[in-house]
């Protein structure tokens, strides 16, 4: 092998007993584009945080060598001084500052604390030329689209004499033109001698730009190959990404599927800020009584956006389409309409959208259906506690009392409280968004059991999940979403991780 610029060896990183990285090794050659692939939660981002000093040296095991010397980064500043710059998926620009100010933020062109604006703007102009961005350097960043902001981030990295540039999902929020431009730019930087690591879910894209690809799965390096190798196919990538046996993690269930309950036709939604960008394209799907339907898609594919725009238009602009229940059109224009029509949505981010952590368990459980425990606007606190106790029993929420703040419970039990809240609206259609995220294995099994029980009671259930194994274990039928479109409708018997992954990664044709 030729000149190795970065060598990471046997990296192990634990989070309170859980191994996020379990002996990852990575070799990156000088002047190449190195792609990193893996499922959500495989450990890619954690690895990059270890590399860039977000997790300081001593916080993990293993060695890092950069430019032939061992390095010990204590902060991002340390890694940047060495020439390693990471551009995160969520861009970190200050919207009200100009492009030039952003490029030199924290690294101002100044002498004795006084900024030299001529120098700043002249150098920024040079950098914009290098990244191919035709904007005035005095433009405020908030006037730029995501694609252009991405280029400002790269210009900022270049201003720091970067040797190794890390891009985390750089095209996730970009349209095709912007993505193509960005990939060209990355190739250009490589030709100038800058090494790049690119993390992406979009396999065609990564195969197009990378010289070498490393696949990470469950915190381990499972495959590394150069694009010059004979077998560099997409199917090799997919096999490496998912290749794990389906464990016996799921309680058994015999599906008893009835009539169609819920149908969505030609659903469209645009991005709420960037209103020209379509986030959900003509989505149509249906769910039957007693059926568990999975939604598989990579992060940013539009799963949550679809669900949130359906549920009371809580996401998106210019939302259009039809929602039918038992063949009749219903309104889900407001959250109250949706609830009244028997639709419940258990949100993805329970801390942000699901729970009032400082309120009691009981108050959270009755929160979406206070009518049930009140008369003429007056709540019967005893009824409320009784309702809460009922769910504490039936979902076995582990707590000594339902009158303590829900924030004191473990993740799994918090999730059960959110579930209780929505079951208490007596829904016919239940949309569960990442129902087991941040929940330990035991509680996962319990939640799967609850889902199965609800299905056997005849409810129509939609489960959105990033974990393919979870969908394969739970769902009777799985829809795949890619870039806002429903790209597949696969029966459980015919579903394999490889097939789903393929449907999830199809680009726009």
């Amino acid at each position: 092998m030729s000149d190795i610029i970065l060598k990471m060896k046997d990296i192990v990183k634990e989070f309170s007993g859980v191994r996020a990285l379990d002996g990852v090794s990575l070799d990156v050659r000088r002047g190449e584009v190195h792609g990193i692939c893996g499922e959500n939660g495989a450990g890619k981002s954690t690895l990059m945080k270890v590399l860039s000093g977000v997790y300081p040296h001593g916080n993990f095991e293993g060695q890092i060598e950069f430019d032939g010397k061992p390095v010990e980064f204590r902060s991002i500043n340390d890694s940047e001084h060495t020439g390693i710059v990471i551009i995160h998926q969520e861009l970190a620009l200050s919207p009200y500052l100009s492009i030039a100010e952003n490029i030199f933020l924290g690294n101002e062109r100044a002498s004795r604390g006084v900024i030299d604006w001529h120098d700043t703007n002249a150098q920024a102009t040079e950098l914009l030329k290098r990244v191919g961005l035709k904007e005035k350097v005095t433009t405020q960043v908030l006037h730029l689209g995501v694609g252009k902001q991405q280029l400002v981030e790269i210009a900022k990295a270049l201003s720091k004499d970067v040797k190794l540039l890390i891009l985390d999902e750089p095209t996730a929020a970009l349209n095709d033109d912007d993505s193509a431009h960005l990939l060209d730019l990355i190739r250009g930087l490589r030709d100038e001698g800058i090494t790049c690591i690119i993390i992406s879910h979009k396999l065609p894209e990564i195969r197009a730009v990378a010289d070498t690809i490393t696949v990470i799965r469950d915190g381990e390096t499972v495959d590394t190959f150069a694009m010059t190798e004979k077998d560099n196919s997409e199917s090799r990538l997919i096999r490496s990404m998912v290749g794990r046996p389906l464990d016996n993690l799921f309680p058994p269930r015999t599906p008893n599927i009835g009539e169609e309950v819920f149908r969505v036709e030609n659903w469209n939604a645009y991005h709420p800020v960037d209103t020209g960008r379509k986030v959900v394209h003509d989505a149509s799907f249906y769910v039957r009584a007693g059926e568990v339907v999975g939604f598989a898609g990579l992060m940013g594919a539009g799963r949550t956006e679809l669900a949130m725009s359906l549920f009371g238009r809580q996401y998106g602009a210019h939302v259009s389409g039809k929602v039918l229940k038992h063949g009749k059109e219903i309104s889900t224009r407001s959250v109250n309409d949706a609830i009244a029509n028997g639709v419940a949505y258990v949100t993805e981010d329970r801390k942000r959208f699901g729970l009032n952590l400082i309120a009691t368990i009981a108050a959270n459980i009755t929160g979406a259906n206070l009518r049930d425990v009140s008369n003429y606007g007056v709540i019967d606190l005893h009824d409320e506690i009784e309702v809460a106790e009922k769910y504490r029993d039936s979902l076995s929420i582990k707590t000594d009392t339902v009158t303590k703040p829900v924030g004191t419970l473990s993740g799994g039990n918090q999730q059960k409280v959110v579930l209780s809240k929505w079951l208490n609206t007596t829904p016919e259609v239940l949309i569960l968004d990442e129902p087991t995220r941040g929940v330990d294995v035991g509680a996962k099994y319990e939640i799967y059991g609850i889902i199965n029980k609800l299905a056997s009671e005849g409810k129509a259930i939609v489960v959105i999940s990033s974990e393919l194994t979870e969908l394969l274990g739970l769902a009777d039928r799985i829809y795949t979403i890619s870039e806002g479109r429903i790209t597949g409708d696969v029966l459980r018997e015919e579903a394999t991780q490889e097939r789903l992954m393929q449907l999830m990664t199809v680009g726009e044709n």
């Binding site: 959250v335 952590l357 108050a363 009140s374 606007g377 005893h382 106790e389 009158t403």
Partner: protein, 400 residues
Amino acid sequence: MSEASTKKQTAESKPSLNINARDYGLLAALVVIVALFQFWFTDGKLLLPANFNNLISQNAYVVILAIGMVMVIIAGHIDLSVGSLVAMIGAVSALAIREWGLPVWASILISLLVGAAVGAWQGFWVAFVRVPAFIVTLAGMLIYRGLAIVFLTGGTIGGLPDSYVAIGGRWIPQWMGEVNNLDLFTLLIGVLGALGFIASQFRSRAKLNARELPTESLVVFYGKLVLVSAAMLFFAYRLAQHNGTPYVLILLGVLVLTYSFILNRTVFGRHIYAMGGNRFAAMMSGVKTKWVDFFIFVNIGTLAAVAAIVTTSRAGAAQSGAGNFYELDAIASVFIGGAAVQGGVGKVSGAVIGALVMGVLNQGLSIMGVDSAWQQVIKGLVLLAAVAFDVTNRRRSGTA
């Protein structure tokens, strides 16, 4: 009565069946402050019947405003305008009687309507235009103060009729007579209050038992009954020694009970807490957050009108400088009473106890003859200490 009714609220209001250490701690702090002044700094003068009576009528406005403010703060907003609003509505109310020749009841009605209208105006900007409440009410603070000066042409309107002045400054007639210089009617109210409290506690416990839900231990239960009843009786005894029951005390009692009920027992109250605790989650649960915001401001506008009537009647005149710094007294009371700056937490009972802490400090320091400039310094430090204590406490218990 304020103190007794406060305790009553603390005990009755919680959906929780555990002893809430924070509530009792706050009450204990009030008792300690009262004891310090009574036995240490003022040689027993603080709780002399006349001073005791004064304590209530002098601080009634803080309690009224704090009740409105606690709802605003739970929802995650602030209202800086209530002091100016008190002055402006006081002016309107006096004008109605003296200039327009309206009867007292009409003046009161107009005041309340103006208060609600001003609240609706502010609520509109906060809820629907989404201008931060800090800005809306800061603007209001300037606008209403200016208008008060305009309405009063810079001066004062006095000569208000007796029936108006009675609201904030007089006592209920001693129609049952006296025994040993004690007003019987006031004593009767005290006894009825204590019995009512005991009865409501037993009823609530019986309900819980009937449904086999957990209850407080017997020691705590009876201890609470004895302490609260004793405090109510002492309270009534002191008042009976000096003119009896002020009208304004009845008003406070009604307001405290009503608003505790609204916050603890109604869907509207629950929505305020849900919104303050997590606005997104509340929206996703179908809470109409904009309308809740709107009505919170209509409510505090109306309560500011009540405070204006009480203040104007006690002073016997409308003054353009009335209500100065009232908003800060109310805000301080709410935070001393355990509300959280980021919203979602707070109680009427806490706000009332906070108002009493401020009131006792005012009264006690005045009796001691402390200069009013130093009184401000001391009150400021107490506010800072109370909230600092609360913040560190919450951090330790990991609930913030």
